[in-house]
Amino acid sequence: MNRRRRGRLSRVGAALLLGAMSFLIFPAGGWSQNLTVSLSNQQLYSQPSFTSPPVMPVPQGAQVSLVSRQGDWMQVDYQGKRGWLHKAAVAGGGSPASGLPALLGGGPVRQTTHDEVALAGKGFTPEVEAGFRQKNPGLNYAQVDEVERLQVDPAKLQAFLQEGGLN
């Protein structure tokens, strides 16, 4: 009797294990986690380090699929190539979202009201900048744009570092 009971229990255990495995094999949302690159001027690096040779540039808004993580770095696939992205380049960076909408909404709320939804799209946005510029016409945004336009070529930076014995 005891043996029969043990046998039945082990079969139930196996069934539960199979059930759990079916969840692991078919996780929600498919096999890999897709992430959106939220910063502009990002590079895919060959190693989890800014000093490693760049693989290819990744535009803002690009969808990459996560392969693995290592410290602050994420190994991702993008357009058939594999490389490393710093976690800060990806929306949220793996950390909880923050921002002015959270401030105005008072942080995460259980019951989202219509007003909070209306505010969720607000914050310090290009629209706010436009309003600010209209109110303050004396500001020199043209030169700010000029400063931002300068992009250092990653290959040239690599050569600069190497020449100066830098890491």
Binding site: A15, L18, F23, L104, G106, N167
Partner: protein, 292 residues
């Protein structure tokens, strides 16, 4: 019992499989209230929560704030338009920024030179760093320039500019009572946000140009700068060297906020003497070639 096993398997497995894929259905929306009403209601509801979340800006919001601060600074100081010098400063700046606690920002770090003999440097939130020709000319080597830029990058990485926005600024918009807030900020929610933005720009600008960061913020930035210099391969004691020179000047921000002897001593302790590297001469020579 045997026949029951597959049924049990599905019973456990299926809910787990489908439970995460339930599509979200749109909820019916109530009729839209006016902007002013909306602002008033939200202000009343969220006022008490404002203080807790006050300094949490997203990277993008910090970027727009930094642009506005830079636009104000560039209305005051002209740019030094020397492509070779600007590229060089950006290369040195990026060499250290990559080794900071925040190696990348929303639109990246950008460095520019201001055409002023007054020794000064400004770290705008989000990574726009402006340094005057006067301050660069006080640097004798690339390592000293890297030390100046590393200190400024540290202020960006540590969000010292954003943290200088007064607590009152955050709460004033949100705690003003209902209808009064709506009247005060004519454009409703958008008006309130613009008002907050203007106030935040004012606070950061004042900190950069007039009052300076707190002693603790400066010390923490020095500490991070020393670490960045070491990790990048620069001589970390270059920070002590350049701070020593600044403490003897009488221009710019340093007239009212010279580095104290305690600060200098602390940096000297942090940045232990390191032996000269084989490429020190290469860096010194390329610095000498650039006209500032």
């Amino acid at each position: 019992m045997r026949r029951f096993i597959p049924v049990l398997t599905l019973a456990v497995g299926l809910p787990l499989m489908v439970g995460f894929n339930i599509p979200s259905l749109p909820l019916p929306s109530p009729p839209l209230p006016s902007q002013a009403q909306k602002a008033a209601e939200v202000v009343t509801k969220t006022g008490t929560k404002a203080v807790q979340a006050s300094r949490s800006l997203s990277d993008a919001e910090e970027y727009y704030l930094g642009r506005a601060v830079a636009a104000r600074l560039l209305a005051r100081y002209p740019l030094y338009r020397n492509p070779e010098a600007t590229l060089y400063v950006n290369q040195v700046g990026l060499a250290v920024a990559r080794k900071s606690s925040r190696p990348t920002t929303y639109r990246g770090y950008h460095f520019a030179i201001l055409d002023s003999q007054e020794p000064n440097a400004f770290a705008c939130p989000g990574g726009l760093i402006l340094v005057t020709r006067g301050l660069i000319r006080m640097c004798a080597t690339e390592d000293e320039l890297a030390a100046v830029l590393a200190h400024e990058v540290a202020h960006v990485a540590r969000k010292d500019g954003v943290n200088s926005i007064s607590q009152a600024r955050w709460s004033e918009v949100l705690t003003t009572a209902g209808a009064e807030a709506a009247r005060q900020y004519g454009g409703g929610v958008a008006g309130a946000v613009l008002n907050l933005f203007e106030g935040a720009v004012e606070d950061v600008f004042r900190t950069l140009v007039v009052t300076g960061y707190s002693r603790q913020a400066e010390e923490a930035a020095d500490k991070e700068a020393v670490s960045m210099l070491s990790r990048a391969g620069y001589q970390p004691q270059a920070l002590a060297a350049v701070l020593g020179k600044i403490s003897g000047t009488s221009g710019g921000m340093f007239r009212t906020h010279p580095p104290s002897s305690e600060r200098l001593a602390r940096v000297k302790t942090l940045a232990r003497e390191s032996s000269p590297g084989p490429k020190d001469k290469v860096r010194a020579e390329r610095f000498q070639r650039v006209k500032f």
